[in-house]
Structure formats: structure tokens, C-alpha cells
Amino acid sequence: MSDSANTPPSVPVQPVRRSVWERVSIVWVIPLIALIIALGVAWQTYQSQGPVIEIAFENASGMAANETELRYRDVAVGIVERVTFTEDLSKVLVRVRLDKEVADYVDGDSQFWVVRPRISTEGIEGLDTVLTGVFIEGLWDTEPSGTFPVRFDGLDEAPLSRDGRTGLQLRLRATGDSGLTENAPIVYRGIEVGRIGRAEVSQDGSTVEAPALIFAPHDRLISSATRFWESSGFTFSFGPNGAEIDFSSIASLISGGITFSTVVSGGEAVDPDTVYSVYTDESSARASVFAESDGTPLMLTAIFEDNVAGLASDSPVDLGGVRVGRVQSVNGIVDEERFGDRRVRLAATMAIRPSRLGLPDGNSSPQVALDFFRSQVAEGLRARLVTSSILTGGLKIELLMVDDAEPAELDVDARPNPLIPTTDSQIADVSATAEGLFERINSLPIEGLMQSAIGAMDNVSRFIANDDLRQVPGDLRGLLGDARGLIGSEAAQELPVELTRTATELRTLVERLNTERSVERLLAAVDAVAVAGTSASEAVAGVPTLIEQLEAVAAKANALPLEDLVTQLRDVADSANAVLGTDAARALPAAATDSLTELSTLLADLRERNVAGNAAEALSAVSEAAAKLSASVDGVPALIEKIDAVAAKAGELPLDELADRLSSLLASADALIGTDAARALPADLSEALASLRAVLDDLREGGVIENANRTFASASDAADAISAAATDLPALIRRAQAVLGQASEMLRGYDASNGVGREASQALREVERAAAAVSSLARALERNPNSLLFGRR
């Protein structure tokens, strides 16, 4: 330490009492400030930090922590902090740090979905996400809510009412291939007014349902009378105006679309989530307004044991013959637990319209209808399949009461629809029925019928071929020739003139009668006759039986030897021909003419002497008589029955012999007519007519008219008498009945003994003799015609 001696002694450093500010550097303020700033920043960061929510998504494609944003109306309001899985790895859990400003608004109703780029027929959406990556879009209401859940379920698809699009949310239901394509537009008069959401198949698989949004302010177009139908694709119609193709828009052509219209006025505003049906075209949609304006249908399901073809959608559902609904869908069903086997059964879903059931008080809610069906099923109501069209084999469902049905009840708790019990089907087999018909036709004895017909024709042919029959026309021609000669004579020609004159007289007479109001009396008489006719018609009721009997007689007659008869007839005709051919016969018309002239003159006189009045009285008497007659006719039907009986007996008679007798009688008549005396008869007649004329002349001169008047009066009296007698007529008829009864007995006796036949043949012989007497009489007349008028001298 030698150095220390040289150096100045170290200054004893006196520790100076320094203030804190002198001992501590001012620089320490800097770290303090830094610390304060850091703490301030940390505190502020903590303060401004929003809450964390977790959103579960199916997948996290395109999402990245600290990059993917949560946006609300395209403004970032949060960021994804972490992407993890849920506990069971079933979903992706995205932790999102919300901004503090919006945290209050996020509540349980908030919706989150991922916006991704998307190209569809309606356009391209989310194009910005191609560059920036996906983001999460959130939607919540504008009402702050204090609390919110930490966990949310993210939506797979953007909800319909996004981007602040508000409007009326509906549900559309369609059957079959519908146009319910997701995101398809709803077009009204060519303007897009709504969107369809994701369609889902309903629980029972029969319909498709999709949510739909009608944007405000177009939602005021929707009412309870609105109907939706598909405008998708194009319509092609072919008719008298040619082919027509129509489609609304390219977008709807590709992806389908729905349009709607309020078909009738008076619809009411609807609540959100109202279900509407979507129809396939406009016409059916419009028709449905009138068909289904009666409330919500009641859905029932029937499961049929037999799985037969023919039942289709829209097949009718009948209740007691009235259509109460339609088949909505037809499905097969296999349910081993329920039925015990694996057979396929037919499950038909029916839409019943409650208003068609005629329930009281117009109460047509499905629930009331369901109660109605429940009570009916308990009493035996069952569903069954019946044939609705024989030609097409189409089926329909019939609800009917089965008397001896096994107990069953409507399964109200069945899903998806109440289940109605079924019974055996009644399906007509057309082919079997037709087969039976053909078999019966086949078994008919057609060949036997044909053989009988051939035999009958042969007989007819043989009959016509008979020589005698062929000669008949020739003889007839000869007879007609003679008749023509007779008519061609001058006297005959004058006959019409005379007749005309007589007719004129008669007409004048009738006019007089008219003036005497005789017509009314006649009418009365006619009425009486009408009554009589009625009685007669009743009597005629017995005629068919009579006809049958006559037929039997005719059958007998058929068996007679007609050929002989024809021969005889021909001979008679020849004889008549010869008679007509005489001059005397030709002179007959002239004599007749003269007589008519006289008659005409006589009638003229009669007119002058007011005969008509008497005649009228006589007619009234006749009318009364007719009335009596009509009363007496009542007994006639019985009489006819008797006649029937007689005819029946006659039918049984052995007419053959009788015919033989007749034949001989005719031969005799032939001989009679063939005599000269008979030929001379016309001449005698002519003379007799001449005498008649002379007599008439005398009569006219001798006041015959007065006598005629008196005669008519007598006739009137006589008519009165007849009238009186007619009252006795019923008794007479009874008598006649009795007589006929006896005749019937007698005929029976004839049948039995054949003795009457002999009697008849004797009678015929008597007739023959009488004819001979006539012949001699004729000869006497020929010698002295005047004796005809003045008796034998």
C-alpha cells in the first residue's frame, strides 16, 4: 500500500442523506408507464371481449380457427376461435367469439348456417366466399335478451327468411311427383314472390311437405281461398286448335316452380305454417276449391288382406252409395310383428270429407267425423274393396255395415292415421260370368230346332204343291169374269146414281133429325153402348181361353180332308157362275134400280110427312133399350165361359164325320143350284121386283105414309117393349147359360154315345129334303111370281 501514501487520502465518502427523488432515477417512470399501458390494454381487451358460443355443424368444410367469421347481415360480428368435435364425434363443434355489441341479441331462437358458394338454376350465391372462404351467417331478432344458451345447433341450409327477407311462412304439401324442389321460386303472374325450402317426405311416405316463404308485401295475396299448383316444366296440349306448348320460365322449366292464385273471393287471412296442397295443374287446383271447400279432410287408413291390382289414387270412397272421399295413396305394407307373416298387404290411405257425411249442425270437423266413424265401426261399419268399373277392373273402397261382423273398433291411436277395420272384398270376375253365358248358349238344342223347322217347311211345300189347290185360282178367275160382266151392265151402271140420290134424301132426313136434337139422344145411346162395350171388353177377357179351344178345333179341322172340300167348293162356284151367266141375272140390276127409284120417291114423301120426329122418339126408346142391354150384358162373361166349355167339347168332337156330311150337303146344294129352276130364279126375282115396284106405286097412292107413321109409332112402342124385355134379359141369359150348360152336357153325351152324330146326319138329310122342297117352290114361283106377294091363288 505504498501507493496510498502518495495518492491523496481517499476522501471519506460521507453518506449524504439524499431524498428519494435523488436516489431513484426518473427513468423508472418509463417501465411504470409501460406497465400501466399494458395493464390498461389487457383490461380493455378483456372488457371488450364478447362471450363464446358453440355451434354444432355436420361438418366444418372450409372453416378455420381465427379466420372464419360470424356475420350478421354481412357484417362480421364474431370469429371462430376453435373447431373441435362434440363429445361423441358425431358433429363438429365450432367455438365462436361473439362481439360484445351483438351478444345481447343472440338468444335461443338464433339460427346459424354456413354460407358456401353455390350454383343453382336460380343463380350463383355466395360468390364472395370463393375468395374469402366460408363464413357463418347468423340470424337473430332485434330484441335484446339477457341470457343465451352456450350451445347452438347449426342449420344445414340457409333458412328461407334470411337476409332480412320477411314474409309469410307456409307449408306446401304435394302428392306424387311434385314440383317441390328445394329453393324453387314461387311465381305470381311471372314475378317471383316466394321460395320453397327443403322438401321432406312425410312420415307415412304418402306426401311431400316443404316450407315456403312468401315475401312481404306479397304475402297479402295469400288467403284461405288460395290454391297452389305446379308451373314447372311445360304443358303440351293437342286439340282441335293444333298442338300447343307452353312453359313459364326457363328456371321453372329446369328446377320446377309453384304458382298460385286466389280462385274465389272471400278467403280469410291465414296463420303462419298453414298447410296448402299443391296440385298438378291449374284446372285441378281450381276445381279443388269447389270440391274441397268443406274443411280439412279426415285421414283414415284401411289395410286389406287381399293385395289386388286396380285400386289407385283418387279412387272413390263410398259410404252407402255416396261418395264421401277419395283414396289418397296406396302402399304395400309388410309388418311381421303385427300380422304374424311376411305377406304384403294393401294399405290404403283415405281422405274423408267430413261435410259429406251429413253430420248434424253442419259440424264437419275431422274430430267429429272421427267420433262418428268410431261409433259406426262399433256397430259394424267396415271397409272393403269393390269393383267400380267392370271394363277396367278398377276398384273403389266401400264403407258398409256388415251385420254379422266380428267385433272390432276404430284404432284411433294408429299412426300415421286412424285404422278402420276391413271385411272381405267383393270383386266381380268378368271373365267368369262371360264364360257361363257362352256355356249356356252352347247347350241350346239348336240342331233339333233346325230339323223341326225343316220338317215343317217340307209339309207346307207338299200342301201347296197339291193340284186341286192350284186349280182354285183359275176357277176364281172365271167367277170374277162373270161378275164383271154382271156389273158392266147398264142397269148396274145406273145404280150409283140412284144410290147418290137416295143418299141425298137420307142426308136431308138426317139434317131434319139434327134439328130435332136427336143427336143428343143418340149420344146418350152411344154412351150406353160404350158402357155395354166396357162390359163386353170384360167379357172378352175370357176370349183367350176360347181362342185356345178354337185352336184345338182348328187343329182338328186341319186334319180334315180339305182337298175334297175344295173340289166341292169349286163345283159350287161353277154352278154359281152358270147362274150368274143367265140373262135374267143381268136384268136384275135394272129392276133393282127401279125399286130404288121408288124407294127414293117414298123417302121424299116420308120427309114431307114429318116422319123424323117419330123416328127421334123411336131412337130414344132404342137408347133406353141399349142402356138396359148394357146392364144385362153383365152376365155375358159367364156366358162366354159356357161357350168356352161348349167350344172345348166341340173341339173334342169327331168332326171328320161331320165334314163328310157337309161335303155331301154341299154336293146336294150343288145339284140344287145346278137345276134349271135355280137358273130361272133370277128372272123370277126380276119379275118379283117389278111387282114390288108396282106395289110401291100403289102404296104411295094409297096413303101408305100415314101407315108408315103409325108403323114407326108402333116401332117406338115395340122398342119400349124391347126395353122392358131387356130388363128381363139377364134372366134370359141365365136361361141361355142353363141351355148352354145342357148343350155342354149334351155334347158330352155326344162324345160318349156318338148317337147325336147319327141324329145330325138324319137332320142333314132332312135339310136335303127341304132343299128339294125349295127347289119345287122355286119352280112354282117361276110359274106364278105374283104368288110371292099375293099368296097362292
Partner: protein, 220 residues
């Protein structure tokens, strides 16, 4: 009191130098007569300043490394890189040279500065096994090299001003650049606050022991 290496300090020689104009005055002079600068033989608050700046600098260095230094946005992608992340990415792409430069300039040098300053400050109080001359050299290196730490910030500033292609691409300085710049500044201030003359003072520990012995002698 012999200083190893035979160097006598000015203080031991009873002199004091003006820090501004380097005029040497006798010990005890308060104000430099030539430039009017306050003259202190030793800045007794120097170590406090060193430590204060050092703490702030280190505090700023943490966010500078954690926060993104550079935000690169192109049409397709937006990328933010921290300093180390960027270097690692460059290295992965094969740019080893650049990656090493960045790592050296942004990590190695600042960290080294913190360590050296802390070590120098500690050695003043507690002595060191390193020779005084070596420590003086170390201090000079730190003070010299400190300004180059700003090269990172310069690169970011250049890129940000050059690559502004609108929607196509843009480079934006991240928050870390600010912290990094602050960290560099505070580190430089910390280094400057260090009074290198204290390196040559007798070790405080020895000093303390000597003082204690002296007090005992007096009492004794």
C-alpha cells in the same frame, strides 16, 4: 489499489473528464468551464436507468415476438406471420440464408443485447471473472450493433410501402413491428445509460469489504 493490467482510472488519478467535450478537470469540479456541462465522476443513477430501460425493452420484446410482424394479404389468402414463424416458413421453403439473417437480426442480436447489458450491469455490482478490458469491448460492440437491430423494422416499412397493390395484394405491418421497434429503442437507451467508466472501478464487493474493514479499524 492496483487495477490489473496496470491501468489507472481517472478517478484514481483524482481527475474527472467532461462527458461532452472530454476536457479533464480535477476531481470535485462540478461544472465544465469549457462547455458548461455538468461533470460527474460517476453517474450514481446509471445502473437504475440501465435496468429501467432494460425491463421496458424486454417487456416490449415479448409482444414483438408473439404478435404478427407482417400481415400479407393477397387475392386468395391473408397471412399473418410472427418473426420466428416467418423465418421458419422461409426456412421450410428453402430460403435458409434469409431465414438465418432474420433470425440473427431479430432474435439473436436483441437477445444477446439483453444478456450482455444485464451481465455488464451485474458485473459492476458483483464483480466478474471477465477482465475489465474485455467487458469494455463487449460494451462497445453492443452499443455499435444496437442500431442495426432496426433492420427488421426497416424491412417491414419498406415492404409495406412498396407492396400496396390494392385488392390484389397488400402487406401491412403487424403490431409486432411497433413493439419490436420500441424494444430496440429501449435496448439502445439501456445500453447508452450504462456508465462504462464503472467497469474500471474497483469491484463494489471489494469496496464494501474494504469499507467494512476500515470501519472496524476505526472502531478498534
Amino acid at each position: 489499489m492496483e487495477i490489473p493490467g496496470g491501468v489507472r482510472s481517472a478517478r484514481e488519478a483524482g481527475l474527472v473528464a467532461c462527458q461532452r467535450c472530454t476536457r479533464v478537470w480535477p476531481a470535485g469540479t462540478e461544472v465544465c468551464d469549457r462547455c458548461g456541462h455538468t461533470i460527474e465522476s460517476r453517474d450514481h443513477l446509471a445502473l437504475q436507468k440501465v435496468w429501467a430501460w432494460w425491463v421496458v425493452g424486454l417487456a416490449c420484446y415479448v409482444p414483438a415476438n408473439v404478435l404478427p410482424m407482417l400481415s400479407t394479404r393477397t387475392l386468395v389468402i391473408q397471412q399473418e406471420n410472427t418473426i420466428v414463424g416467418g423465418a421458419v416458413e422461409l426456412a421450410e421453403h428453402g430460403n435458409w440464408g434469409v431465414a438465418i439473417v432474420i433470425l440473427v437480426a431479430s432474435v439473436l442480436i436483441p437477445m444477446g443485447k439483453f444478456a450482455v447489458i444485464a451481465a455488464l450491469a451485474m458485473s459492476v455490482r458483483h464483480g466478474s471473472s471477465m477482465s475489465r478490458i474485455r467487458r469494455q469491448q463487449l460494451y462497445e460492440v453492443v452499443e455499435y450493433i444496437g442500431r442495426w437491430s432496426m433492420i427488421d423494422v426497416f424491412v417491414v416499412a419498406l415492404l409495406s410501402s412498396l407492396v400496396q397493390l390494392g385488392a390484389l395484394a397488400a402487406i401491412v405491418p403487424g403490431p409486432a413491428s411497433l413493439y419490436f421497434a420500441l424494444s430496440v429503442i429501449f435496448t439502445m437507451l439501456s445500453a447508452q445509460s450504462f456508465d462504462s467508466r464503472m467497469i474500471w472501478d474497483p469491484d463494489a464487493v471489494v469496496d464494501k469489504q474494504a469499507r467494512a474493514a476500515e470501519l472496524r479499524n476505526r472502531a478498534g
